[in-house]
């Protein structure tokens, strides 16, 4: 396992190099000039072309792309991710302040989606084609279809404006987390319920489930231990990816709920062509995604003893 872990971590290096090149190149291909934005922010007026040129020189943007990239990499490996064009603060500090908030939000939404999505899917599979199944599938369809910002407004209207139960925006405690987490989780709950239903329905038709029922086991035990457990492999795979996507989808939720996380800050940075922040953001997200995938791979042998790290390695090599 140790060797497997080291190999996977070694893969991270080319991934990060590739991501950094992509983030560096794509950021600069986007139309616009961060120098203009920095002047407008610091002076409160639209700059002249001459002022923009001077600011580009100050920011080092008038140097060749290769020089800029290597300079940034050189500083980044020493932990200096530069100064944000948007806020003027060190990028490392900005990410350190915002990433935990986004992780907190995504984790809460992830937990909610597991707690609601899996039981709902299981229930629908156990009562397939009954009204319960139809109800769950309808709710899932609606949950997957409605836009997140609209759900957010509805939740604020219901629970903040009318019921005064939860605060409408901001951070501060568990109460502030509820509405954004529910909004973010809704899409995932819907998908997880449908995925669980499909996976469990497939295993319910297999021989080992029929054998378990023939042995006279209680239906609940058959469902959970014999149908759900084999279905966990695709669920865990999807969940790993889902957590990463939750981080990405958090942008809309963070904006509406004024949740000052990494997603919201990244959108501001993209709009302002804040190259240092965009590049650092891409690297952080790459590390998070790779880390999640690694965690999922490490979970497989615990769910299904037939899988091992050597087989995981060979399948990874084939892939």
């Amino acid at each position: 396992m140790k060797g497997y872990l080291l190999r996977r971590l070694a893969y991270l290096v080319p991934v990060l190099v590739g991501i950094s090149l992509l983030a560096f190149g794509l950021g600069r291909l986007a139309p616009g000039d961060p120098a203009r934005d920095v002047i407008a922010r610091t002076t409160g007026h639209q700059p002249t072309h001459r002022e923009v040129l001077a600011e580009r020189h100050r920011l080092g943007l008038d140097r060749g792309p290769a020089v800029q990239y290597l300079s940034w990499v050189g500083h980044a490996v020493r932990g200096d991710l530069g100064i944000s064009y948007t806020s003027g603060e060190p990028v490392a500090r900005a990410i350190g302040d915002t990433l935990p908030l986004t992780l907190e939000l995504a984790a809460a939404a992830f937990l909610l989606s597991l707690l609601l999505g899996v039981p709902l899917g299981l229930l629908a599979a156990a009562r397939s084609w009954s009204w319960v199944d139809h109800a769950v599938r309808t709710v899932a369809l609606v949950g997957a279809s409605v836009p997140g910002f609209w759900v957010a407004y509805l939740l604020i209207l219901a629970f903040s404006v009318h019921l005064h139960v939860f605060p409408p925006f901001g951070t501060g405690g568990l109460s502030h987390l509820v509405l954004p987490a529910v909004t973010l989780a809704l899409f995932d709950v819907a998908l997880l319920a449908r995925l669980t239903r499909a996976a469990v329905l497939e295993t319910l038709g297999e021989d080992h489930v029929r054998t378990a029922r023939a042995k006279g086991l209680a239906e609940r035990r058959v469902l959970v231990m014999h149908a759900l457990r084999p279905a966990l492999i695709p669920l865990v795979t999807w969940s790993g990816m889902s957590f990463g996507y939750l981080l990405g989808y958090s942008v809309v939720v963070e904006t509406v709920f004024a949740w000052p996380g990494l997603g919201y800050t990244a959108v501001l940075a993209i709009q302002a062509r804040d190259y240092p922040f965009i590049q650092a953001f891409a690297l952080v997200m790459a590390v998070v995604f790779v880390g999640l995938n690694l965690a999922v791979d490490l979970l497989y042998p615990h769910i299904d003893p037939r899988t091992s790290f050597s087989s995981a390695q060979s399948s990874a090599d084939e892939g």
Binding site: G44, T48, S87, G88, S160, V161, S175
Partner: protein, 525 residues
Amino acid sequence: MAASRRFRPVVLILLAATVAVAPSASGARAAAGAQTLVVASTADGYYENPKLPSIGKYPTNANIFETLVRMTPNYAVVPDLATRWQFIPPNTWRFHLRRGVRFQNGARFDANAVKYTMGLLAASGSGAYIGIDKKAAIRSIDPYTVDITPSFPNRRLLEQLVHPENSIVAPGSTPNHPVGTGPFKFVSYRRNREIVVQRWDRYWGPKPRLQRITFKFVPDANARALALESGAVEAAFDIPRESAATVASHRGLRIARSPVGAYEALYFDIRGASGFDLGQDAAIRQAVELGIDRSVIVKDVWRGNASVIQTMIPPSILGPYAGLVHGFAYNPGQAGRILDEDGWKLGGDGIRVKNGRRLSLTLVVGFPNADIHGAMPEAVQAMLRQVGIDLKIVKAPDENTYSSTLSAGQGDLFAEVGNQNDANPCFLPDLLFYFKGTSHGDYGYRFGPGGAFDQVIESKCRTGVSEAAAKQGAAQAMRILVDEQRIVVPVAGVFRIYGLSTKVKGFQPNPSQTNQSWLTVWLAK
């Protein structure tokens, strides 16, 4: 029945959890004191400038700082930290400073503080625009008299100094601990969350009645309106115009509209290259003006929270000179006749054609963002089609893309919503339309007529000493842009909309949000 019994504990647990995590808002507010105001502000736009403390200053003005002179809601310049001033030819402004003023750290406000602040403005580059750079001369005549000589002839300095960016900063003030002379002193700041200020008890002027103000940064406009309706805040900036009526109808809430301080306008690129060169045709520019029914846009797009204006400059700045700009009225028939005479004949699809070229214009929308313009582009598109002009709409995803498109000249018309944040009548025409010395990427190059317009800017705006001369110059400049050259199509003068709890008293809405004062505000029981 059995199923409902099974679920009952789960429901009870969920209810208990809900109650446990729900905040006791009233309790928290009561503990903080009665005169505690929470404001839902727009997005956090503070820039952490190590050379010039700016947190609490711009764009969200937390009233920590003050300027030498300030601007009233009607754009008049009145004393603030300077009690009087005079212009000393050829290019010096002498300010007589207010005595007995203390910074919030206890230090005395005097000419040295003004010198210190001007030094920061010069070092940071923020003052270059108004001539406060390393070549500017700042001299203390005595502890309460200071002379400011900008680096270039700048007769508009007085009106420019009202901008909060030019606030007087206490020596030793840092970005993380801003110190000024304002009625409220800094307590805390958390990026993208809030800035908190509290009453400065040794304030030189009338004492503020509010004990504490918390500005919460809520970037989404609808969320700000909902926060106000929920009671989480007592005031909110920039309520969406489509929500204003709903907020006003909510019990315990009201809407405060400022005088016109912002504008929506279309600018013609008059130096566009091939493919975007129709703006060079004066007949087309005039036809577009006459083909747009601005009263419909004010009523339906801006939901009545705007007015039809003839200039981009807020009418209250121009005062009696506003009448110099005649503007235009909706007249699609005349627009059609002008195009006919210019050789643009109606084609089979209802769009005019001349020498095989269709009369098709590209409108670029994106400043400060495309959303703020609402359905204006589509409304203009439908109106211009009635006179045989095809309008292609390009909505830029962000301001940077818009600026880039403008610099590259990839449009015939550009739509902007802008603000007037200082008292300089010439601010907008000088900044956006002065042609001399501009490059391809500048506004002046794209939209500036040059010639007589530049002469007015130079002779009245830049060198005219009196405020009246500048107002007259600004009006003459706008007359050239709107009436004569028809480069600018003013669409609407826009009010700023503040949402308030009815408990909030003494609030005087400022058309420039960044100049909003909270000194007179208090909360009724």
